[in-house]
């Protein structure tokens, strides 16, 4: 077989049935065969979309997502998507074409040092120098991508390597003397953990994306059932624990619930499971659960004691460690603590004010959609205010059903991720929440969704602002809305000027998302009155063969509350009421 045939053969043996990509000179040999193979290639409109689709596919299915691009600009366009997957530990294999080996380093047409460029944002990467290496490299790449702490792997394949023949085939085993992730937790450490749980008075579980990556949600539920310890999750961990459960404290951190943050700060035992003490979670480090004993389960040893000094570290896969813990764990006496937590929960609910005749509040839309799908949909988001509202006001009940760029915070992630998720879950409803700013960062993928007749519901929470940045400007920059208004602005303070009568001014809605949806062949709806919200949602959910874009015109200056100001401790949350408009 030649190199390209080997690629297809090995991918099929890895069980790949769909990949996302865009052709070009340096991958034509592979594309030529893809068309004749069992693997479905989803043609994207921009390579960044391909990487995010592979990511959304991976997050929502737990399988390795695969994307492919040509050399040079094709490969560099993947970079943001690869970095996004890297920051959130998402299993992905990205295949890139490369100029022929004799031309590498000559500044050939469409040449870029892809292994060099992607080194800091991949778990591992390869430049395949001979066709003989190819099968072993593909085998290793998939194993590396999904094992241990998952992550993206890039395989850069020069054109002549794709053309040359080799007798090597997909190997049975891989040989990597330096790579042996620790899966099983140390028995003694697990015992220590169980002892700490028994002795604690005010324990809390802080679950992260690792619970979802290792498929440990049943084990987590079992632990909670056995002990009755309340659970808060990170943004990445949403869905790891059913938020309808009375012991769920929803999300913690910068825009977490007040009750989760208070509970963490008052806890005497913090059980961190597959989470990494990110700064958006901990706030000021020295005041994060200052009096607690820290237990940390993580498959990645470098994640332990990186930000917080951990007292009982357990290196191992969450699923395995929790299963072992569940065999021996016993609850302590938490009655007073549970009562206190329930009190906080009742006293500080997430809230917003929806006036009947006022502008539509974005939180209301999210609640309506959550109700319409009964909490059972794959939700994807871009990055910004809408992302935090989707985290707060959607009731996340099911694992692997919330896909959002947490670590890198990539605007433009949501729509392509929704497409990837829909390919991975053809029978599920997929809803993408986006802002009017972020949707424009990858809106071209509407074409991909239309081509494949995907009934994705794209909800644009359109406030005509780059809302999260505007919120920071309001709070920390004296309400100087410098370049955050996305429509015509009347003055330097960034007040939007929506004046349909003025001929020189751009139209009030630009782009007109309804017309744009129409131009792409999707359904487009605009809702600017509260009364229209439900009907639009119902109409969108009734579509089965094409995406619907709903342009919800929402209250322009609504902010995300509560909020921990950057650099503050997480119990020092501020609320709308703490802040008067400047």
């Amino acid at each position: 077989m030649n190199g390209a045939e080997l690629v297809i053969d090995c991918l099929q043996k890895e069980g790949v049935d769909v990949m996302f990509g865009f052709p070009g000179g340096s991958v034509l040999d592979i594309f030529d065969l893809l068309n004749k193979s069992e693997i479905k290639l989803v043609l994207v409109r921009h390579e960044q979309g391909a990487a995010h689709m592979a990511d959304g596919y991976a997050r929502s299915t737990g399988r390795v997502g695969v994307c492919i691009a040509t050399s040079g600009p094709g490969a560099t366009n993947l970079v943001t998507g690869i970095a996004t997957a890297y920051m959130d530990s998402i299993p992905m294999v990205a295949i890139t074409g490369q100029v022929p080996t004799p031309m590498i380093g000559n500044d050939a047409f469409q040449e870029a040092d892809v292994t060099g460029i992607t080194r800091p944002i991949t778990k591992h990467n390869y430049l395949v120098k001979s066709t003989d290496e190819l099968p072993a490299v593909i085998k290793e790449a998939f194993y590396i991508a999904r094992s241990g702490r998952p992550g993206p792997v890039v395989i850069d394949i020069p054109k002549d390597v794709q053309k040359a023949k080799s007798s090597k085939r997909y190997p049975e085993k891989h040989e990597m003397p330096g790579y042996k992730p620790t899966v099983e937790g140390h028995v003694r450490q697990i015992k220590k953990m169980a002892d700490a749980i028994k002795a604690a008075k005010r324990p809390i579980i802080y679950a992260g994306g690792g619970v979802l990556l290792s498929g440990a949600w049943d084990e987590l539920r079992e632990l909670v059932r056995k002990t009755g310890i309340p659970v808060t999750t990170t943004l990445m961990g949403l869905g790891a624990f059913d938020e309808a459960d009375p012991l769920s404290l929803k999300m913690l951190g910068m825009h977490g619930t007040k009750y989760a943050n208070l509970a963490v700060c008052e806890a005497d035992l913090v059980i961190a499971i597959g989470s990494r003490f990110d700064d958006r979670v901990t706030g000021r480090l020295d005041q994060f659960a200052a009096h607690a004993t820290f237990v940390h389960i993580d498959v990645d040893p470098s994640s332990i004691s990186k930000n917080i000094e951990v007292h009982i570290p357990v290196v191992g896969d969450c699923k395995h460690v929790l299963a072992k813990l569940n065999e021996i764990v016993e609850p302590g006496d938490y009655a007073a603590w549970i009562e206190k937590v329930a009190e906080w929960k009742a006293k500080y609910p997430l809230k917003y004010q929806q006036d009947e005749n006022g502008p539509i509040k974005p939180q209301y839309i999210i609640e309506r959609i959550c109700a319409a799908v009964n909490g059972n949909a794959v939700v994807t988001t871009d990055v910004g205010q809408h992302q935090m509202w989707a985290a707060q006001f959607f009731t996340h009940r099911y694992p692997r059903s919330f896909c959002s760029s947490g670590g890198l915070g990539t605007m433009g992630y949501g729509l392509p991720a929704a497409i990837g998720a829909q390919f991975g879950n053809p029978n599920k409803r997929v809803v993408c929440f986006a802002g009017d700013g972020s949707i424009q960062m990858n809106i071209q993928e509407l074409a991909t969704a239309v081509d494949h007749r995907l009934p994705i519901v794209v909800c644009i929470l359109d406030n005509r602002y780059l809302g999260m940045v505007r919120q920071w400007q309001r709070l920390f920059y004296g309400r100087n809305y410098a370049h955050t208004c996305l429509v015509d602005t009347a003055n330097r303070s960034g007040e939007p000027r929506i004046d349909p009568k003025s001929e020189s001014a751009p139209p009030p809605y630009h782009p007109d998302f309804v017309k744009l949806a129409d131009a792409y062949g999707a359904a487009g709806l605009r809702v600017d009155k509260l009364a229209g919200v439900q009907a639009a949602i119902d109409q969108a959910l009734a579509e089965t063969t094409r995406p619907t874009v709903i342009d919800f015109i929402v209250a322009p200056e609504e902010d995300v509350w509560p909020m921990v100001p950057s650099g503050a401790a997480i119990h020092e949350m501020i609320d709308e009421s703490d802040y008067t408009l400047l």
């Binding site: 080194r119 800091p120 591992h124 990467n125 003397p177 330096g178 040893p301 470098s302």
Partner: protein, 157 residues
Amino acid sequence: MKHIISVLVQNKFGVLSRVANLFSARGFNIDSLSVGETQDTSTSRMTIVVEGDDRVLEQVTKQLNKLIDVIKVIDFQGGEFVDRELVLIKVNATATTRAEIMQMVDIFRARIVSVREKHFTIEVTGTEDKISAFLDLMRPFGIKELARTGKVAIARA
């Protein structure tokens, strides 16, 4: 705090830059880095000397361990190990100073590896202390050029 870190890696393309990247991405200045094949041609050993905060370096060591091509990482701090460095020195040597230089070379068990009309090239291996002592003695004669390998280290046990 100075750390001597020994990293056993697979002898593969790109490994050196992966390892060096981990230090530079955290703003560490590598004092020296030396690499060579081991008894097994499929592996290489890197000896890295770096100055840095202990806690942060512990993190770097953990990150090094995470690299796919890294087989073993040892931070020699406090442990039993032997380390050496090789330095080549081109030093001015005139008719009047030749004898004196040769005497010192002898005392230090260094070697003169090249003789020219106006200079010697001297090879010296040893610990950091020995080499700096030797360099101090040579300096008055006028060191014209100098090349050093950086430390290599190996555990005693």
